[in-house]
């Protein structure tokens, strides 16, 4: 990243929330090893809206999982809001995932046997929020994503778009500083895509840091900054609206 670009980001964002240096990730299956990330350096500041784009298999999801503390890098350092992730215990990592990060998965990952509001309250259960408050906040979050009428439905009784909105409600119910979304619109039609992107815009406006993976140009265009990744390396880092 050029000093000029860094200057610009500093002016639009706050303190660094994500600081990556030399991140490598090697997958080993049997005797075959595969290096999915080959030295990624980047900084994301508080309040930024970043889209990660790149061809299939380039390492986007791998990167996102590391950012969400769902996976460990093989090499390199990840400093999250000033704390080195590598030095955290399992319990501290659980707390980080619970309080600071909201994750939206491409495959929704909802509990099929539980109603929408039970799914949304799950992070609050692990945060130790009292029962009555949990239900209130879960229903408020579902109302915010336009599902105030469907709180008692199980995931199987909802459309794909509705399920992804439940997942978004679950990500925002703890009011985390950072929302990570791995192709949140990948399985959705244009109408549902617009709904979910509108929700992310709202979250961005309320000051949350958003990192989103996408294949689609119009989705990437909603962000402030695009990170282009190819073969496990960041090959471009451009502000949106400014020609690269």
């Amino acid at each position: 990243m050029s000093p000029a670009a860094q200057q610009r980001h500093r002016s639009t964002g706050g303190e660094p929330i994500i600081e990556l240096s030399g991140i490598r990730k090697t997958y080993t299956s049997g005797t075959i090893t595969f290096e999915a990330l080959r030295g990624v350096d980047s900084v994301v500041r508080e309040g930024e809206y970043v889209a990660v784009i790149g061809p299939s298999g380039s390492g986007k999801s791998t990167l996102m999982n590391i950012l969400g503390c769902l996976d460990n890098p093989t090499e390199g350092s990840y400093v999250l809001a000033g704390d080195d992730v590598a030095s955290m215990t399992e319990t501290q990592l659980a707390e980080v995932r619970n309080k600071r990060i909201g994750f939206v998965f491409q495959q929704f990952h909802l509990l099929a046997s539980q109603s929408a509001w039970r799914n949304v309250e799950l992070p609050l259960v692990y945060a130790g929020v009292p029962k009555a408050e949990r239900k209130e906040r879960a229903i408020a979050a579902l109302t915010k994503v336009g599902l105030g009428e469907r709180v008692e439905n199980k995931p199987g009784e909802l459309s794909g778009g509705q399920q992804q909105r439940v997942a978004v409600a679950r990500a925002l119910v703890t009011e985390p500083a950072m929302i990570l979304a791995d192709e949140p619109t990948g399985n959705l039609d244009s109408r549902s895509t617009a709904d979910v992107l509108g929700l992310l815009d709202d979250l961005h406006r309320s000051g949350r840091t958003i990192v989103l993976i996408t294949h689609e140009d119009e989705v990437a265009a909603r962000a402030e900054r695009n990170l282009v990744i190819r073969d496990g390396l960041i090959v471009a880092d451009t502000p949106v609206g400014v020609p690269a």
Partner: protein, 409 residues
Amino acid sequence: MNTAETLRTALEAVRSHRMRSILTMLGIVIGIASVILTVGFGQGARAQVQEQISALGSNLLIISPGSSTDDSGSRGGFGSATTLTLEDADAIADSDVVPDADAVAPTTSTSTSLVAGETNWTTSVVGTTTSWLDVRTRTLASGRFFTQAEADSGADVVVLGPDTASELFSGTSPVGEEVTVGGRTLTVIGVLESSGSSSSGTSEDDVAVVPVSTALALTGSTSTSVSTIYVEAASADLLSAAYQEIDALLTTRHGIESGDDADYSISTQDSLVETASSTNETLSVLLTGVAAISLLVGGIGVMNIMLVSVTERIREIGLRKALGATPSAIGKQFLAEASILGLAGGLLGIAIGVVGSWVLPAIIDQPVTLSLAATAGALGVSLALGVGFGVYPATRAARLTPIDALRSE
């Protein structure tokens, strides 16, 4: 996550996977119920045999005709030989020859029909002496036993067992009434108290006891052979002394050369207890084996379902971790789930075992004793299996990174 929250989550998981929960519990239910019932059978049978033996009376020697070791291999049953006589009994009763014998009761036994008015009942008529009541530790419910004078004179009196009395006189007091046996009319002078134990087939409560001379007169037999001689030793300590005295006496009386098989056998209660408890030991080992196998089968069932259940829920574990669950929260959730299943299945199994131990004796005519140790042991084993195989794989899965758990098939 606090305990109430953990329990709620676990209960919800149990309820939302109904089929799997039922299958897990089924293994525990079957295992525990069968352990309770099989061990209960063993203990019930043992208690029954012990009761029958102690009902025979203490300090008792039982002399039966016929060798205890017949070379032909077939013993023909106790009492089928006729080598024991009233004279033998008289000789044993001689306190100079057998000083350690307290009381001697020879008995003859024939199956005969008794008639009272219109009623006809076939029972075993026992001819004996006045010592019988003492030696067999029986008591009278009403009336009296026959006297020495009645025994000597062969009086026409009879003492009925309680079952015989109620068969012949259905409810009304038989004392003073008359029964006809083989053309002779006997007066009922007493009714025995129930012996409290009945080995199936030969009830101790269905008898008619008469003086031995009366019994001989009834059958019209001139033989003085008896089916059993009961001897009560002066005390338990003198039992073996009495045994040796009687053995020596009978060897001489029967002219048995050394090396020959005796034509009688003397058994003590101890030897009966020994035989019975060795039979019981075999039964116990067999039943314990059956119980252990059913517990094993139940346990393997629980183990399988727990392992499958955790494996198919590794994605759920990954998701919960991604949302902020600590490994210990996951461990506690699965511990609570396994405990709920184990306890519910265990209590149901105990309930079935207890109900079975009430109902089965009525159907199969065998007592079933509830064993606390077996119940607790079975519950402990199935709880341990459920918890072990439920919690161990869950905590292992909780140690995976969330993404590895989420990606697992």
